[in-house]
Point group: C2
Chain length 321, copies 2
């Protein structure tokens, strides 16, 4: 079994055993059932795996990083509950979303409680580390909110620059990935320098990850990606691909949109390909991935074992789903 699967198993076992603890069986159950539900319906478990792997890269037992692993997974799921409300999304990971099942109010409130549960998990770390961990976590939590707000603000803007978009996904997606690595290494005794390099590794990996997601939505195959291809194009979502194409080929875009064609999505995708937008965005994805690997080499120079982290980065880079 590879390390990714091994660490996922460790995390899932811990999650399941947690669910039978008093902490997860408080009253009213109507507040806690939605939290257990969203934590239980899966996902790649990327963030907790990264936290555990960062601890192992310091030569320590992954179990030491469990307080961090649960904190980042809880925070991530809090943000999913609230994001799904904001996006009016009925489905998440193939299941109905929390607000769809329990209504808006319980969606808001169980999300709030799940954020507190994240802080609660982090407080299980050794006392001497609490201050540094909370400082990192607070900063990350704020930046995630800022990223989500920027994303919403973008909806009403006519033109967005690439730099704005990259800043938005850095906050909305990448910082929590960086924070998972940083806190996972801190709790395992990493120096500030090493933990900062791991944070940077996570940031660049996270940006590459999000750009990849946008590319898969446009050019993935339905079979492997599991949702309708071109959904972002159809809703004119401002991904890096859309931003590059609309900023560089405004006339082409306008003429396709104003045409009577029934195949607009396909025509836009074709134009994105033929005018070089796809290649540009692919190159950006590669650039941030390479930058992530460079940060990882800084960590390696400090006598940390970064083999598994590099495998995981490659797995993320090569994924088709």
């Amino acid at each position: 079994m590879n390390s990714i699967d091994r660490l996922r198993k460790i995390f899932l076992r811990s999650l399941e055993s947690d669910f039978s603890e008093p902490e997860w069986n408080r009253q009213p159950d109507s507040l806690y059932a939605p939290q257990r539900y969203i934590l239980g319906i899966g996902g790649k478990r990327l963030r907790p795996i990264l936290a555990l792997m960062a601890a192992e890269s310091m030569g320590r037992n992954a179990l030491e990083a469990l307080p961090v692993a649960h904190a980042v997974e809880r925070f991530h799921n809090f943000s999913l509950i609230h994001d799904d409300i904001m996006d009016e999304a009925p489905i998440r990971r193939g299941k109905s979303t929390v607000h769809e099942n329990w209504g808006l109010n319980t969606g808001i409130l169980s999300g709030d409680a799940l954020m507190v549960m994240a802080y609660k998990s982090l407080l299980k770390a050794p006392k001497s580390m609490i201050h540094d961990l909370f400082e990192t976590f607070n900063q990350t939590a704020l930046e995630v909110c800022e990223g989500q707000q920027m994303d919403m603000d973008f909806e009403s803007l006519d033109r967005i620059e690439e730099g704005q978009y990259l800043n938005m996904i850095r906050n909305k997606t990448a910082v929590l990935i960086g924070c998972s690595l940083q806190m996972g290494s801190l709790i395992a005794g990493a120096s500030k320098e090493v933990s900062k390099s791991l944070f940077n590794f996570g940031i660049e990996l996270g940006i590459s990850f999000q750009i990849h997601d946008d590319l898969l939505d446009a050019f993935g195959t339905l079979e492997t990606f599991g949702k309708q291809i071109g959904g972002d194009i159809r809703s004119q979502k401002k991904t890096l691909l859309w931003i590059h194409f609309s900023n560089h080929q405004p006339e082409t875009l306008k003429s396709i949109i104003n045409s009577g064609s029934k195949n607009k999505v396909k025509e836009i995708l074709y134009a994105m390909e033929s005018t070089g937008s796809r290649a540009y965005v692919e190159a950006q994805r590669k650039k941030h991935f390479d930058s992530a690997i460079t940060s990882l080499h800084n960590v390696k120079r400090n006598n940390c074992d970064t083999k598994d982290l590099e495998s995981l980065a490659n797995w993320i880079f090569d994924r088709e789903v």
Copy 2:
């Protein structure tokens, strides 16, 4: 100037000076403006005053408790933003609510960020106290969410027992008042025993405070209370008064509701008075107030100066608004 006004002034001065700090001027402003707005539109500032006063009762400078004072005020205002969404309330403290001004999504998100800002303020406490403060705060934050969920769950129940109601207001209202006192004293070096007695004082005071609120809504005068009297009765809100009356006089209540009368609210209020429900609830308010004062005497026996806290309790007990 009495201590309440003096401490409110200290808090408000600190709040205003904070607003010009980088912490309150991050981007996007669309996320931070709603937070500054709700923190700025007033209220009694009861929780931060209690935190500062608790520190003074330990013989320390109130300023030492500012990290706690801001944390509890931020958390309280986070809960107001989200509660107003759940209650679909357009007005708060005579001004339009956050979601009314900025929409649902920014309401959810700026509330989330304000909760993080509460944790951020608490982290400014001396390092040696962080663990205890966060433990207290996490527990309180969860109980506030639990109380709000109970309150929502009550809406769909036919009959609620007094014990359930008291448990709900303990969580929704009283624990944050208790927590303000507990953390304000902890940061000023109080022992666990003293800080726990102050917590209990706050719990009982908070329960008495909430029962008082319900009584004022029913029997206050429009002039002093500032909102329409009998609003809770009109919406059949399950206050202690309503619960006692409907559990003890179900037939009387039914006959008024089913009558064609245009003065149902007045008739219910009259019946609550004549059947003893009002007197019962007034006695409950007094009972919890007396219990609060008893807890305060425990604190006094530990050489703390509880004079101001007792004045504040009396001010709360005697208020007409």
